[in-house]
Subunit: 349 residues, 3 copies
């Protein structure tokens, strides 16, 4: 029996199967420092422990996407080592904050299976849950991924496609116990609060960030994501693109960091509603982003806080003043990411 991990193939998954992913990870303040160096993040709570405590956090909360990437990375050896494509995310909710010293692990359940007509691949739907050392949920989300079959002749499983919401309902959000009375716009970097954003409003985040090989590899290893296509130029020179592919989550984090310019008060991500990596990003590409406000939800009894559902679109080598997205029948050729998520923003009180 081989001692190396061959990963699971499509026929290895069964509905209801539980996977306890290995290598829990302790996150410390230094991870936050490194995350800042990788993305230039400036959202107030991840930048300043004092700011976070002033609005009611018990400590310095780790950046939400750092938590996402670490929880996601844990699933790769079991779920997507033999994946052809990461197809989508849905129904992602962040739970309790992660503080320095917390240790995260991830467990998943297979919630859907659908063999493709070519019989060479199939789609696996999993629900993954990140937990801290007290077994509290820090992140729970569904994703689906196209996985190769080991054997094209293996019988197809019964097709099960889970019913996933288009977006996390406002009442399903886990709201942190915060008191926004002490939220300081001046320190946070913007006077624009929840009520200032209109559904349909579009914001060009202006700046661009060029990606280097060393950066995306540092980030992806930082998240302990082991997907081969990000790291091995010797193999990828003969692959589909002749080069390493940037981890899609790296692009999400770049877009989120760029979105500070226009959304500085979107201090916390509470939900990931949907996400699609429209096209691959490679080292040398410059990532730009723009955002559309999809929904604005006042939260019952919380005049100090509102939830904005946002779509952030990232492009490569294409500034976003014209909000590139659709082009003829399809997606604009410069678009690399279509990310639908919900943020908290202080209200006017």
């Amino acid at each position: 029996m081989t001692k190396t991990n061959p990963g699971n193939f499509f026929e290895d998954f069964t509905i209801g199967q539980a996977l306890a992913h290995p290598t829990p990870r302790t996150l410390v303040a230094g991870d936050q420092a490194l995350y800042t160096a990788l993305y230039g993040n400036r959202f107030a709570c991840a930048s300043s422990a004092e700011f976070a405590r002033a609005i009611g956090y018990a400590g310095w909360p780790m950046d939400d996407l750092l938590v996402f990437h670490v929880v996601f990375g844990k699933t790769v050896p079991d779920i997507s080592l033999n994946a052809v494509a990461n197809l989508g995310y849905a129904d992602g909710r962040f739970g309790v904050p992660v503080y320095p010293g917390d240790t995260l692990r991830t467990q998943s359940t297979v919630i859907g299976l659908k063999e493709n007509s070519d019989k060479k691949t199939g789609v696996v739907y999993v629900r993954s849950t990140g937990l801290n050392q007290r077994d509290e949920m820090v992140l729970d989300y569904a994703r689906w991924v196209m996985v190769r079959k080991r054997d094209a002749n293996a019988p197809a499983p019964e097709t099960v496609v889970p019913d996933l919401p288009k977006a996390v309902a406002p009442q399903a959000l886990v709201l942190p116990a915060l008191n926004l009375a002490r939220y300081d716009d001046r320190l946070a970097g913007s006077p624009h609060r929840f009520e200032d954003y209109q559904v349909g409003e579009r914001i060009d985040h202006v700046d661009g960030m060029t990606v280097e090989e060393a950066e995306h590899m540092l980030a992806t290893r930082h998240f302990q994501n082991t997907a081969k296509v990000h790291f091995n130029q010797h193999a990828e020179k003969d692959g589909r693109f002749q080069k390493r592919i940037v981890y899609g989550g790296h692009v999400i984090s770049l877009a989120r960091a760029l979105s500070f310019n226009g959304l500085a008060n979107a201090f916390k991500i509470v939900a990931i509603n949907a996400g699609r990596h429209v096209a691959p990003v490679f080292a040398g590409d410059t990532v730009y982003a723009w955002t559309e406000v999809l929904e604005a939800h006042a939260l019952p009894g919380r005049a100090d806080l509102g939830a904005l559902r946002l779509r952030t679109v990232a492009t490569k080598d294409q500034p976003c003043a014209q909000f590139p997205f659709k082009e003829g029948e399809g997606t604009h050729k410069a678009v690399v990411l279509d990310f639908d998520y919900t943020v908290l923003m202080p209200g006017k009180g």
Copy 2:
């Protein structure tokens, strides 16, 4: 009203104007770790918490230039987003030490304005102060920067050029409460103390360090410095140099790290007297440095401690055995930095 930050233009500044810069930043021990990885710093107090405590620090002091870069980075969105050039620094004094867990913010006051004769740009002089969470000064300095006008027809302000000292006077230095009796030369890496350095002495720091794109971008994002020219190759390919420009402070930190070889006992920077980024540095350049001792100040009642005013000159692709600086009428073409600062060094007691 746009929600993105257009930055301030020359006509937006007025004498006496106060700017409270956003996004305070918590520094932790992991920031020091990352700073070491970026520059290879070996000065004893930033390398060893034990060494620092042995000479009287209450904790592990953050590297002075890490503090400088973070305090400086905060000012960029308000002061220099529309800058053409960072012209100089003066009268910089470091205050209380910054320890892991401290949170820094920066506030600035406009102290000078001078429109240029082309009416397209003007020089803005600001005094910026970095403060910790107890409102104690950690760094105070003046800089001036050439900023574009939004509208060439905007009226010129009255010219005010502040009176800035050529160098911080020894009696104006903020001396940390230390007891150098336990300063260990062997651990620090050099037998040469304050009295061993002569005014006029020149030291070639011998080594060179090549700059990579991923490194200067990691560093500059680490400092949350958002100046566009450092990050966006897609835009810069059509810019003045067809490539990204390395943040000038990155070069200062490289030169300081190189200066360990010859100045190992210069354990603390207490003042930045002047600084000039003579020429841009790009990825691929190799930075070398040499230093001249400009002044040596015994400190009243402190036989254990002296202050050396130093000029460190950095070059690119040019070793410094010949101390390159002047060439004919001008500056040697390899020179990229002329940095005038004051360090503390243990005395012979």
Copy 3:
């Protein structure tokens, strides 16, 4: 007298000479975070502080190779600044665990000298000991290095070649006080325990990792290793390879991280028996690795724990399914590292 460090030349070393290396270094949790980003390390104890505490560690132990690199780096300015080649390691034993906040320093003793017949160089053998702030041994090892003579006419010292063991004897290992009863295979990532590995067994670690200039320089500065060949492209363009050479220890850490795939339960390195950097690695190379089990030692009275002596071979641009090592009379041309070390692995109890 020059104030810069010219390093020691062969004739500067004498048998029995003691060297107390400068610049002690404090390691913090953030160093572990950065180490993870550099190598993608997933071994359970360095990934999870909870896992480490569950098996009896008093805190979160720093990765063994991070400790090795920092202890090694300290010796460079005194031992190998004028080295031509790092020839080998032997008799390396890890001592007490290093926890966040510990400060490491290194001292060395010259234990052997042998001038080469060309009279231009000689081999220096040193025993180096890394100590924490309580003077407890964290690592003790011998290495030998070929060092240039300053003056070919300097007289040759008496030849002394130390008697070094081929491998650290099991009874000489420093075993941490752990209780493996709570070692969780599922969290660690592998069901294979000590008894499952057979002497002579060979494991292909499958994956490859491409090295970038920014990465190996970040790592090598992180370890405060000052060897010039890693950093200065301006000088190296005229050197032996026309490019910077990757620090050999970077390759050791890459190989160790790759070896997780097949050796996930090798949770701790306890000895470095031998090591040879067979060929240089450069940026752009992709490192692969495979391992042979050389010896398996049950430990007296420790049914919960065994020691495996391993040889890990790293290659560049050569997958290891065929276990490349010997080729005709010599070593396979793709091999870059031959590393002989001993790990602890939980037993079946």
